[in-house]
Symmetry: C2
Subunit: 332 residues, 2 copies
């Protein structure tokens, strides 16, 4: 199978929304009048972002999901994406499920593959995704990292830390019962981009970011760019680990072999969560709740924003918790 057969067989489909899709020097997109194009790019490298033996169908899903998560954090509606793929070999047994997982998620979000590149090399997937954000009365409706204000509530969607639990189990550093691992592994290998929530939060959230490197690290970007500080409730965070909540009552070997601090580190700095972390005025609590319901996405208030700079962690009794949690950095 040659390079052009490969594209033809697994990745070329007729353009629907794009003016021109796969198969020329460039793809052509025409943005709707009164909109801006939101653009994000993510690169996944074998051995770094995924294990060599990961299910190619899930990998295809995840490669696009992490990009859609960036659009979600901007409140952008997915439109299209490009795929650049370095592959050691052109094998149908890998390409067929990979393109299936990729294109199934693309279809679910009406986000079409419009172009890209294929080359031989160590397995590397680079997706650049395009979304649409309306401009109303001259103001962009994009959710930015820089809009958090003192007094805002701090929210996070979905659950935290289970992806990291799965990663540790797959690395062999913890032993996890099969049903717990199966559920946690889905969070690691098939994250759900919170696109509907991002769209529902337009005009409500003051700032947003997607949690990819760990909650506290990503919150740090919001605080820095907004020029504010925050206090986070660590007990609320702990309650957002699905595996923790499901098994803390049952007790047993699995649950107790993991120290409480370890659980908390996974919730606050686990990485690979792909949830939305966002801020909104306290007056908007009901609208936030309605947006969460309309988008079928659970949302939890996890802290608050204040003028005093810095990041403060407290437990449910209001006692300070030392912040010894490091979020993920590729080069630190």
């Amino acid at each position: 199978m040659g390079e052009f057969d490969l594209i033809e067989r697994y990745f070329k489909r007729p353009a629907r929304q794009a003016v021109l899709g796969v198969g020329d020097d460039c793809a052509l997109l025409q943005a709707a009048p009164g909109t801006q194009l939101a653009i994000s790019s993510d690169m996944l490298v074998e051995g770094r972002h995924f294990f060599a033996n990961v299910d190619p169908c899930l990998l295809g899903h995840k490669a696009l999901a992490v990009n859609l998560s960036d659009l979600a954090a901007c409140g952008a509606k997915p439109l299209a994406f490009t795929l650049a793929l370095a592959l050691p070999r052109a094998e149908a047994a890998w390409l067929a499920p990979f393109s299936q997982g990729l294109l199934a998620l693309a279809d679910a979000h009406a986000c079409e593959l419009v172009g890209g590149d294929t080359t031989q090399g160590p397995l590397t997937i680079c997706i650049t995704v395009f979304g649409e954000v309306p401009v109303t009365d001259g103001r962009s409706q994009a959710l930015l990292r820089s809009g958090a204000r003192a007094g805002d509530d701090l929210y996070v969607s979905g659950t935290l830390g289970d992806a990291r639990l799965a990663l540790e189990a797959l690395r062999g550093t913890v032993s996890v019962p099969a049903p717990v691992l199966a559920a946690a592994r889905l969070r690691l290998e098939a994250p759900t981009p919170r696109v509907a929530l991002g769209l529902a939060l337009r005009g409500i959230a003051t700032a947003a970011i997607d949690v990819s490197d760990g909650l506290l690290g990503d919150l740090g970007h919001v605080l820095k760019q907004s020029g504010v500080g925050a206090t986070v409730d660590t007990d609320v965070a702990l309650g957002l680990i699905a595996s923790h909540a499901d098994y803390s009552g049952a007790g047993g070997q699995f649950f107790s072999q993991i120290a409480p601090d370890q659980w908390l580190a996974w919730a606050l700095a686990g990485g690979d969560d792909y949830e939305l972390l966002f801020t909104a005025p306290t007056a908007a609590r009901e609208t936030v709740s309605a947006a969460a319901q309309a988008s079928l996405t659970p949302v939890t208030r996890i802290g608050r924003i204040h003028a005093e700079r810095g990041l403060h962690l407290v437990d449910k009794h209001g006692h300070t918790v030392n912040n010894t949690f490091c979020s993920f950095d590729h080069f630190a």
Copy 2:
């Protein structure tokens, strides 16, 4: 140096044309009314597209140049790009010259870096570039592969084959005198994207493609998508190898050690030329010539398009030349 320091230090500059540049979940671009966005993505992998010891400044230039070349082939005006970079280590000695070469070419084309990703991994560079194409009276002005018509002339810009000569010299398969290698190596390592020519050919060229995998292979895409055939003059192609033209008169060991067929293979299927191959009606010969002059880009008529399918090679006497030339395919 951490991941975010690295971005801040080498890649973050204030957005000029973009609504929002590096530093949020997404970049924001607002296309001018009445325009389409042309999008292209290319991935360069160490050991595959460049040698490990290549000058990082030239590599930065080339990574963007090959993408700008795709915009040129569409007649699109460069606007912005994203950079996804996998690096084994974060080293200033590599990052500083790489970003310098990259951003110098970006500045020369007013094409700004608006976002991307950095990760640890085998050195891999993925750039996605965005350009603007006007829509006039409801018709896109983009140059496509599908527009060649029987009777059109076939043209190529600049020179051919020198990049491949340099590649073979660096691989050690041929011995090339230092001044020849220096010139040829610039064609391999610092190609000139033909952006000005692409813009000048809007409304004149009927089809266009950039020559990256080799002239005949890329011509094949135009013929297939336009549903036509072509005849190419091999002696004209041979005359487009700068090293051949410069040294054929002088004779000597270097020139004669390379068989005429080998020279021709490099011209017709060498790869890495990044020239524009395009078609235009015979009635447009003077306008093509004026576009070439206005864009300071030499252009040569190398053949013609005909209704009869297939690719026919002839020498200057009109005799058929057997086509045994294979263009580059990553998986063939």
